[in-house]
Symmetry: D2
Subunit: 269 residues, 4 copies
Amino acid sequence: MPSGTTHTLNGCLQILCSGESAPTHRHSASAIRFIIKGNGACTVVDGEKIPMKEGDLILTPTMMWHEHSNETSEPVIWFDGLDAPFVDLLNLSFFDPYPDGKQPITKPDSYTTKRLTMAGLRPAGSRPEANFGLPFIYRWEETYQALTRLAALEGEGDPYDGVVLDYVNPINGGPTLPSLGCQIQLLRPGENTRVHRHTSSAVYHVFRGSGYSMVNDERIEWTQGDTFALPPWAWHRFGNPTSKEAILFSINDKPILEPHGLYREETKE
Amino acid sequence: MPSGTTHTLNGCLQILCSGESAPTHRHSASAIRFIIKGNGACTVVDGEKIPMKEGDLILTPTMMWHEHSNETSEPVIWFDGLDAPFVDLLNLSFFDPYPDGKQPITKPDSYTTKRLTMAGLRPAGSRPEANFGLPFIYRWEETYQALTRLAALEGEGDPYDGVVLDYVNPINGGPTLPSLGCQIQLLRPGENTRVHRHTSSAVYHVFRGSGYSMVNDERIEWTQGDTFALPPWAWHRFGNPTSKEAILFSINDKPILEPHGLYREETKE
Amino acid sequence: MPSGTTHTLNGCLQILCSGESAPTHRHSASAIRFIIKGNGACTVVDGEKIPMKEGDLILTPTMMWHEHSNETSEPVIWFDGLDAPFVDLLNLSFFDPYPDGKQPITKPDSYTTKRLTMAGLRPAGSRPEANFGLPFIYRWEETYQALTRLAALEGEGDPYDGVVLDYVNPINGGPTLPSLGCQIQLLRPGENTRVHRHTSSAVYHVFRGSGYSMVNDERIEWTQGDTFALPPWAWHRFGNPTSKEAILFSINDKPILEPHGLYREETKE
Amino acid sequence: MPSGTTHTLNGCLQILCSGESAPTHRHSASAIRFIIKGNGACTVVDGEKIPMKEGDLILTPTMMWHEHSNETSEPVIWFDGLDAPFVDLLNLSFFDPYPDGKQPITKPDSYTTKRLTMAGLRPAGSRPEANFGLPFIYRWEETYQALTRLAALEGEGDPYDGVVLDYVNPINGGPTLPSLGCQIQLLRPGENTRVHRHTSSAVYHVFRGSGYSMVNDERIEWTQGDTFALPPWAWHRFGNPTSKEAILFSINDKPILEPHGLYREETKE
């Protein structure tokens, strides 16, 4: 592990056992959930029930009521990402339990996602609602399809990160959430990326395959299920020496830095 | 027909017979093509070959090289929409034939669309390229799916326009093109919308079904294949008295008016 | 005069004789007034009385109630600039007389300008009000001071236009009005600018001094009090062969073109 | 003092004695200097020499080379405000000494300020340079004039803060610096403001007069030369029980919170 780490984000694995539920609450920290294992648990965000499946990414923007429940017979595990350290640093950590125990379901299942299915199509007049994020779900089936379609295009792929997609605000194309960015990244068999560094930090979760990262002079070997941090301004590159594709999900704090002129990057010859 | 009409847009039907082609050219007017009949003709925009199928919408932003060809055995008909009257009014109509006859194909088929498939996912770092529009294609299969999914959501639908989707810039969520907006609109069997008016004008093409519009005091009956204009500031509403859904494609000049404080709307009790 | 002209703007000279007044009205066209001769007449914009002095620029944004009166003993002459041709082209020309004859004065004299005196200082929280323009006045005393201070800075001055200031929205730095830009331009004794062209058109009024413009191949000699138009995409340059400074006030339609990707410029070797 | 404090900003008093100088350096933290006492010392920012006088506010945006020197016979004291705690929290504190000891003077004295003197006037085409702040100086003479002119307007003044001006980016109207806001605030003799709270925190310096602040339940008496902090989300109000005006200069972290949806305010009945 590099000596530094991220100071704005936290990422942890969370398990919700069969029959368990988390009561309705909200907080000023923004959160994302990336489902690693298990299908069929649910989260409710802002009155909208969202079923969780492996590979799905679910957003919980700042101060939106939410809760989780697992009514299936198997445990569900997800990667939980928050900007809580950033919000704590600012001394702005608010937390409220829901006054009456459990928020009512007020919208059809996956309402927001059903209204926004395809890049470039949007219910007329829906722009303003999106300022600070939506209770959106990015389905794995479509995410993986977009990732492999991009990988198949000749000449595509970032020299430093391989084939990489930003999850963006589906209304205005801004960052995933105003203080938290998410990416999904595919390293092709045998791929070795070039070295660069940036002032943003990140937490990675290995969703599929295995490989390694060079962070400064340290080699971090990783395989499916691992989680590791990239500190700010550390030289780094990625390698996939295997014959299978490797897929990394990650959260980053670039949206925290950019509006304040603090984002920079450098490459090495 | 209402006495007024649109002063900024033109819409016409264009047929490309079997074996016909239009040579490469570009112009300052922005154009869209909405395919009405026939499959398999192609347009090339900015080095990218885009096959045309019924119901597809294809964008040609200002000053991008483009051409069309029909190598199939059936004619292809499309609705052609341009902001040419607006550009002419400004005395800014530029037109260039391609220097060497035919532009080369430099990108994979439907490159832009393949890179932007799902709302909320985007190749990392692709934002700036989108300022004045993309050679994008909105496939009918996905458009119709989005439209019917929206129609199925309880409580959805605009009181004045029925179930209506904006085609938006897939990168930044802005208008279809910076001086031309497009919408697809579904009127459910028996649906009658309420009366309103706005300063923007529009040209409608009836893609499926039939119905009527009340424009000021005039009743315009329309059926599949018809095209009609809505002048600025005219009171209007839509009706679908049939037992089948009616689908209208339209272009409008709202993006021309909004940046200059000239867009307004009014409703009637 | 060049064969072309501007298609979006009109500029004319208006005289208000001693004792005359224009009743309160409003229109969708945006207007500016640049005072050429006479001091002490008044305009009232949106409940705010604004005294007019030579060289002042006064804004009347779209649909704001306004009126003029001259209670002095001398006539007042101003240059009147509007985007009326643009608004007419769109068929969006609205005009209302004030219901009760004369709008009441509801604010202190030159209220808006008194609140916004210095670059970089602004009453807290005043941002949103500025979207479509303010009833602002740019006083000549300060305008001329800014112009000469800029002229005195070594290396300043645009190669194509001499020393030139944009009048900008004092709240957000945007264009003078959302569909009309204004500039004040000083040509130093002996100054000859370089040739360029742009898609925007302009109307110039010669406020001080004399000189000439080359527009395409035509030489336009101008002197104090003259008004001339620059058509879109015409090659042009300015010359001041005299030993006194020449000052041109102008309006342009760059704000109409820019949001739609229609503004371009070219230089000549 | 309230138990909490600001976590993003620091404010301190700095003295530069006669003959002293600080060598050229730069850092990722953004800085402002508000001159409290003494005239005639100089700061150089980005090749531009800026003389310091009492009441002036001088900006040093992120990563701009700067230095200070006092060639007068009296000491100079200023209030130094930085977003250094914020930048440190992010682990992004960069600091460089100037390679060759002292940066050269490359621009005329107070160049940036001379080019931007009056609200609404700007050298043509100067917009893009302003993204992350300018080496700008807000002169006290003009600041105080703007403040008293605003105070003289009937009905002006914020119910929670008295007569208060934002120092804004003179090019685009954005915050003083992208991660640091500044205000100047006048409490009229006898003025008592109403109670509110907001998530942003601030550091105040008493520039003229005396009065008190109620922060939560604590009364903070202050007089000229004092400095005090306002923690986030603390109820507060201001009082000036004297017969003279009181003037507070302050820095705040609202620009850090707003882009991330973390700024909120509440009022009390």
